[in-house]
């Protein structure tokens, strides 16, 4: 079996616990001074890559775990976190603050990166929690012409470069089998990401971080979707509380819910 060269794309997003606020100009969400962190699904991707190495689940072993992020300079923070969790090295593709890339552009960039790095497994999060698009992994697999296994809750390796992936689907799970090279996207149940320990955070500072630009990958930030406006969702009016179960039943009847 081929040794694994894993590419893990990560995204810096507003922290999942922060309630985003729409800006006054209605052009987007306030990001200044807001806590950011690694997209939670991407943490699962790194954790899985590191576990594949540690648990020696892949017969050919893991040769390299490379993390990549396209974003502002601050995206380097999440790359350092990824290396503290166990990734070997990082590539930062500099994109100015506020000039976010659309998934198709990211997929084109990653295609080139996967080719350059001779990756044979790309593990991505199933969606980023800011745009909620859920497209990049599938687009990348399409562009590369590789097999894909999305929303993975279990990844197992067999002989002859075979990869079995259990996927979360509507109503349960299904298992598909493919061969390297392959694209896998992670679902919540895949694993529980580790915390980066202080010594590992220190070590991660010495790991290589390559700085690149979009031009290095032959892509431009071409936007196909124009955001016309961003608004707050219609607020829900809390209807207050009732004293007891009778009150609850009466209110539900009044609202026509039962």
């Amino acid at each position: 079996m081929s040794a694994l060269r894993i590419l893990v794309p990560v995204k810096r997003v507003i922290d999942y616990a922060v309630k985003p606020r729409v800006n006054k100009a209605q052009t987007g969400v306030e990001t200044a001074g807001v806590k950011h962190s690694m997209n939670p699904f991407d943490e699962l991707s790194i954790e899985e890559s590191v576990r594949i190495r540690e648990k020696k689940t892949a017969p050919g072993g893991v040769e390299d775990i490379c993390v990549i992020s396209a974003g502002p300079t601050k995206a380097q923070d999440v790359l350092r976190t990824a290396m503290a969790m166990g990734a070997d090295r990082a590539i930062h593709v500099d994109v100015k603050e506020g000039e976010d890339l659309e998934p198709l552009t990211v997929a084109k960039l990653l295609k080139k990166a996967a080719e350059n790095e001779k990756s044979n497994l790309v593990i991505l999060g199933k969606q980023s929690i800011d745009d909620d698009a859920g497209q990049t992994g599938q687009m990348l697999a399409g562009l590369l012409g590789w097999g894909q296994a999305t929303q993975a809750s279990k990844v197992e390796f067999g002989e002859g470069d075979s990869v079995s992936v259990t996927r979360e689907v509507d109503g349960g799970v299904e298992t598909v089998r493919g061969k390297l090279p392959m694209v896998v996207t992670t679902d919540l149940r895949l694993n529980e990401p580790r915390y980066a320990s202080l010594p590992n955070i220190m070590k991660a500072k010495k790991k290589p971080l390559e700085k690149k630009t979009l031009g290095d990958f032959g892509v431009e930030n071409q936007r196909r979707l124009k955001v016309l406006k961003v608004t707050e969702p219609a607020p829900r009016q809390g209807g207050g509380k009732v004293e007891d179960v009778d009150g609850l039943v009466a209110k539900l009847k009044e609202l026509g819910a039962i």
Binding site: G172, R177, K241
Partner: protein, 352 residues
């Protein structure tokens, strides 16, 4: 608008139609006026073991909002009966069917090229599928093959190129305009009522089958069996959270309530992660998005990721012992109390 377009530019339009049919490049459809005139949508329908997924008829309903012609697409083994049933959907002009067992499991690696061929052949300007496990897996691959930036999980169609979609777990609503000649769209099922069956009589036509080999093969599946209504489309949903304490208690408390109301059972991520309920029951940003008539949250605090999956419900009721739980801020009616007392009492009173 349509009439004007037809009157003013007949020659130009004819030329573009001619170009569009002689070239496979989607960029042949350039003029916005021509786009308006030619808007035609392919709605991707889902089937499973020879049965049409009625929820996927929402794609036809969304397609009708775009205007122009609406065709449906199904693929699988012995697809004829499925195609004929789909052909009775209101508003659909034609059903394209591809009869081949290779597409039964909806593997994106061969289904995407299949769609691409049929999209090119039909000259569609819009392709719509549900934002379901099937649609999520398949459509971005289709979009990439067509060099189109997909628009995911839309909740409204404003015009043929402008769509509304929630971002940041539904904490913001974005209106986006697409400049792609072929728009690849997934829709939030709860935002578009499925097209009604038995009201139309569309023609069924064989699609093209490029017979691309899939790099992956389907091995097995394990689906939760349930006699209850489907969570995603149920009129009523009762949902349990961490407050249920164990799987036994979850089943003991939630099932009688669901049975009494004729409701589907849902769960918060906490309940799923703790093993109280199956993964497929999770409601939220990373699980199912539901919008039933009644959503009853039991022992659920109401984290933003959970609210993302249920806050479009018509009526939200909450039972929680913590009076300050965020769920009460969105609930139409809230009851503070111990769910182990209140829910059985509620179940009894509802039975009467």
């Amino acid at each position: 608008m349509l009439c004007t377009a037809r009157r003013v530019i007949p020659h130009q339009l004819r030329r573009q139609i001619a170009q569009a049919t002689t070239t496979t490049s989607p960029s042949a459809f350039l003029s916005p006026a021509a786009l308006r005139r030619l808007a035609s949508t392919l709605a991707i329908l889902e089937q499973r073991e020879g049965k049409l997924n009625h929820g996927s008829l929402s794609a036809i309903a969304a397609a009708q909002k775009i205007g122009g012609s609406v065709h449906g697409f199904v693929a699988g083994s012995s697809i004829k009966p499925v195609a004929e049933e789909a052909a009775t959907a209101e508003g659909v002009e034609k059903i394209i069917a591809v009869d081949s067992g290779a597409y039964d499991k909806g593997l994106a690696e061969n289904f995407a090229p299949l769609l691409v061929e049929n999209i090119k052949k039909g000259g569609y300007t819009h392709v719509i599928a549900g934002h379901t496990a099937f649609g999520k897996n398949l459509m971005p691959r289709v979009a990439a093959l067509l060099d189109s930036q997909q628009i995911s999980d839309i909740t409204a169609v404003e015009s043929e190129n402008t769509f509304v979609r929630p971002i940041y777990a539904g904490n913001a609503i974005a209106t986006v305009e697409s400049s792609d000649p072929i728009k690849i769209i997934t829709i939030r099922g709860t935002a578009f009522a499925p097209a009604e069956l038995g009201k139309g009589s569309a023609a069924v036509e064989d699609g093209v089958d490029p017979k691309v080999e899939s790099q992956t093969e389907w091995v097995s599946e394990d689906l939760a069996k349930s006699d209850r209504p489907d969570l995603a489309t149920a009129g009523k949903v009762v949902s349990g959270g961490r407050g249920l304490k164990s799987k036994e208690e979850f089943d003991k408390v939630m099932q009688p309530l669901a049975d009494t109301l004729g409701a589907a059972i849902g769960a918060s991520r906490a309940a799923v992660d703790s093993g109280y309920a199956d993964n497929s029951l999770q409601v939220g940003q990373t699980g199912k998005v539901v919008a039933p008539q009644l959503y009853m949250a039991v022992g659920i605090s109401g984290a933003i990721q959970h609210l993302a999956g249920m806050k479009d419900s018509k009526v939200i009721a909450a039972i929680n012992k913590d009076a300050d739980a965020p769920i009460f801020q969105v609930a139409d009616v809230g009851l503070v109390g111990d769910l182990f007392e209140k829910v059985p009492e509620l179940t009894e009173k509802l039975k009467k």
